[in-house]
Symmetry: C2
Subunit: 142 residues, 2 copies
């Protein structure tokens, strides 16, 4: 079963209708290699309305098929998610994304909950830096 079929099964299982527009958006999403903006999908899923692309992205986010990637300037990208809850290390130079294996703050969430009496429901955690490749190319040009 292809990845596309697998996503379609998930939608069916949750009583969402399988429409050509949705399939086109999902196919475009699955074809991305790194992180991407919604606009990229709007361009690549030709003929699908802008609103539908945004609606489908929301669906895919809720189903955990994509994850949100927050860039340093607070703009929102997406990325195909092949695991559960996790965070990212983004190269600010080439855009490469490293998925981090586990949530580094789950312990902290418990501590915070105890210390502050907040019931903690969510968090954002993203790291920015330069990957080894980008660092060495900078070294060469300076």
């Amino acid at each position: 079963m292809s990845e596309l079929e697998s996503v379609i099964r998930q939608l069916e299982a949750l009583d969402h209708r399988i429409t050509p527009s949705r399939v086109a958006v999902i196919a475009a999403v699955l074809a991305q290699s790194g992180h991407f903006s919604v606009e990229t999908i709007v361009h690549q899923a030709r003929g699908v309305g802008r609103a539908t692309v945004f609606r489908t992205m929301r669906l895919l986010t809720e189903l955990d098929i994509v994850c949100r990637v927050l860039l340093e300037d607070a703009s929102l990208h997406y990325r195909v998610s092949r695991r559960g809850h996790h965070h990212h290390l983004v190269c600010v130079s080439c855009g490469n994304v490293q998925d981090l294996d586990e949530c580094a703050v789950s312990d902290l969430v418990r501590e915070l909950a105890a210390a502050t009496e907040y019931e903690i429901e969510g968090h954002w955690l993203e790291f920015y830096g330069r990957c080894a490749a980008c660092r060495s190319s900078v070294a060469l040009t300076t």
Copy 2:
């Protein structure tokens, strides 16, 4: 010396000009109690142009007079910052913000740098939840 004067001194020290517009924006910012959007300041600093408000907010961010508060939906707010680098715990119900004392991920940044060969330059970290007050009011209404 008032907080306003203190900020003005900081601007002077860095060779920024003290203009009525800047003073109005800074005064409006310092009058905020929690986190706020730029739009709030646009409304409250009457007569100051939109662009100038945005420019001044950028200045204040660079000078660490305000810090950026990222909401759960990735929208950007600001908050008067009375300390160095830190993170936030935001109540998604009433908007109350708790400043967290220290950066909880500075150790992690070092570990990550070693493990991934990235040079890590920055991060986003924000927590969302419900404060004690909001939790008890929910308990009452259910």
